[in-house]
Amino acid sequence: MTTTLESKVPSGPLADKWENHKFSVRLVNPNNKRKFKIIIVGSGLAGASAAATLGELGYNVEVFTFHDTPRRAHSIAAQGGINAAKNYHNDGDSVYRLFYDTIKGGDYRSREANVHRLAEVSLNIIDQATAQGVPFAREYGGLLDNRSFGGAQVSRTFYARGATGQQLLLGAYSALMRQVETGKVKLHTRIEMLDVVKKDGRAVGIVTRDLVTGEVKSHSAHAVVLATGGYSNAYFLSTNAMACNVSAIWRAHRQGAAFANPCYTQIHPTCIPASDEFQSKLTLMSESLRNDGRIWVPKSADDKRGPNEIPPEDRDYYLERMYPAFGNLVPRDVASRASKRMVDSGKGVGPLENGVYLDFQSAIEREGKDVIEDRYSNLFEMYNRITDENPYKVPMRIYPAPHYTMGGLWVDYNLMTTVPGLYAIGEANFSDHGANRLGASALMQGLADGYFVLPYTIGDYLADYLGDSVVPTDDPVFNEVEDAVSGRVDGYLSANGTRSVDWFHKELGKIMLDQCGMSRSESGLQKALSDIPALYEEFQSDMRVLGTNESMNQSLEKAGRVDDFFELAQAMCVDALARDESCGGHFREEFQTDEGEALRDDENFAHVASWFWTGDAGNPELVKEELEFENVALTTRSYK
């Protein structure tokens, strides 16, 4: 078992590391690239951009997605925007400032070198996307427009109305489809990867199940890339699409890939509050709304008047009051916890008193309704469709919801996991956001990894295997994994219990939200760590999955995903319990300042907590990667 983690961060000054590294890694020459086969699982921003680029370079690529077309990946739902240090608005932005904001926003729990590289390539992403035809918002002069996002005092967020993720994904998807047409990329849709296959310690392929026919099959390659997204659905209710799950990276974890910081999850401050117990997911209202919306609750918990009847002097614009410098644009973790405090103190608004107001009245008066409409009309419409309320007239109601997972597979500077030949990109890895991600930075990271980082770094690994053919899929290593996968599937179908898989998922979600959500405590986490295994046992013996393997069976698909969520949930709690500090999205009640702000412990916890699978989900083995800060000074984040 690996006991040390080698981050492979290049030496030299921060700003030169990536350039130097690109020069020093081994390359595969153009004629040899076609001798390599690379499997990419996932076709979101990270997967599609990587597949397109590797195909352009001449590699043979196979892409797998459980969606019916690559364009459905969850990236499609990103609304607000993508950051880049273009400084088109001459407001003092720079690569260094984006780097600094991201490190600080992440509460000093990410690697300096990775974050700096991200800020550097952010410039190329905007160029690439624009050239592909991504219709970013423009000013009347025809140049690109920007807006601000939380945690930044400059305008560096590029956007395409409220559908930035959709447009960026369509760009990456179009580049991908161009390679499909040339034959460099082979596409497998409605196929779910269910395990990684290793030989002599290296990743040599995957085993999949066809979601239409049930066929379990092996695929081999020289390298495997996981671009399978995040795991917020461990909470059941989240802003993620229904099918988002942890299985791909969890299966990789069980095969030896370290899982880093599983407890770092982001609870997004601006989502539509749940309306009843049947709610299947929560809908995000983009953070960009905080540019123009003001957040408030009534000053008095007893004030039951409608929002428009409450005069300004009886309103508490609490973010503006508590954080005058950043106001409504404080980072997400800070905004979410503040809302929770308001609702917990009885000031929640709406029929279930489970929200706070996000009010556009001042902005509409200042800018005019047209301008606000131009910026946010699709978000306002979405809100109206869900709540039947008109946000131009009545303030929106919002509340935090699980949204993004900063944790993920541990990767080195080359984006390789602890299993040689196995890479993780996009939300699936842990790399750039520390303990809290800034808005508009996930799209940036997914595309940075896929377009500009992995295509360089993967050559360094492949160079050693020039001339080697892939391991044939009738090799015993594949047979073994195929048998295990089929065994799991049969197990679900033969459990013959009394409760649906969804029922268990909901119960698990409740435990996670209560004990490992926006705030965590030692006793709560310990309780979760005894409740989850008990529920898990019940799940295994009492689940009911009807139908067969041989035809499309959505409950069967879900059973495997929930199975893995049960194990992941334990890792999240173990990690949260081990981290005796509060940082970013991880807030331990025992560690807070008098004002209720997160209290970090840099002396003992400035590390990446990487967990190795031991066979017992409740007892993984911890290996720490110490974080070294050579450029920024660790300070207490202040947004006041």
């Binding site: 160029d127 592909q132 219709p135 959709q166 299947s280 809908t283 979405m382 295509p455 649906s500």
Partner: protein
Amino acid sequence: MNIVLQVWRQDSPESRGGFKTYQVKDISEEMSFLEMLDILNERLINQGEEPIAFDHDCREGICGTCGVMINGQAHGPQQGTATCQLHMRKFQDGETVVVEPWRATGFPLIRDLVVDRSAFDRIVEGGGYISVDTGSAPDANLIPIPKLVADTAFDAAACIGCGACVAACPNGAANLFTAAKISHLNLLPQGQSERWSRTENMVEIMEEFFGSCTNHGECEKACPKQISIDFIALMNADYVKAKFKNRRLVSQNG
């Protein structure tokens, strides 16, 4: 509220399908249509009946995965709304609601309400891109684009690829989808070099899979993104020009 659902059930492409009636009692008006199906499925599982297969994912009207015929209307009664964004308050207590899959030769049925829309990917493969290898792009602000042009391109690019236009069309034509894809790129300065080859290829692939457009306009009404049929006119005009220009280019080369 209570409703009566008549749902198309079919185990596989080969097997025979038919409608089944379900009484769905005690549901809330606040629920979305798909949450109502979730509840029905939960009840079916409890009774030992296999749940209804339906496609969905984001439930925010953006991924384009969902989509069923509701009382004969693609995505149901609310204009500009995908199935997942439709709420039960749009139905009457006691109403009978008929739910069917998209029906079109271009979309073979997989199971129950799920169909195969991969023909859309084939159309995009034929030219729904701008050829620009990663790393070869100039600075983004070197190509100023008038706001109006960018906005119109966006209007076309908003298509979520759900297939409602095809399902709503009496001929099962995919002209609105294809026109949206083509117009997005053909309107932009970056898209000009491949304009004619793109149009010709994509239209011809479309015709292999789908029926022909006879200007019924049902597609526009069904489209959750309210994509305008004006884009079809743009596509048709470009197609005619493309036929001419492409041939001329070929003869120049030859």
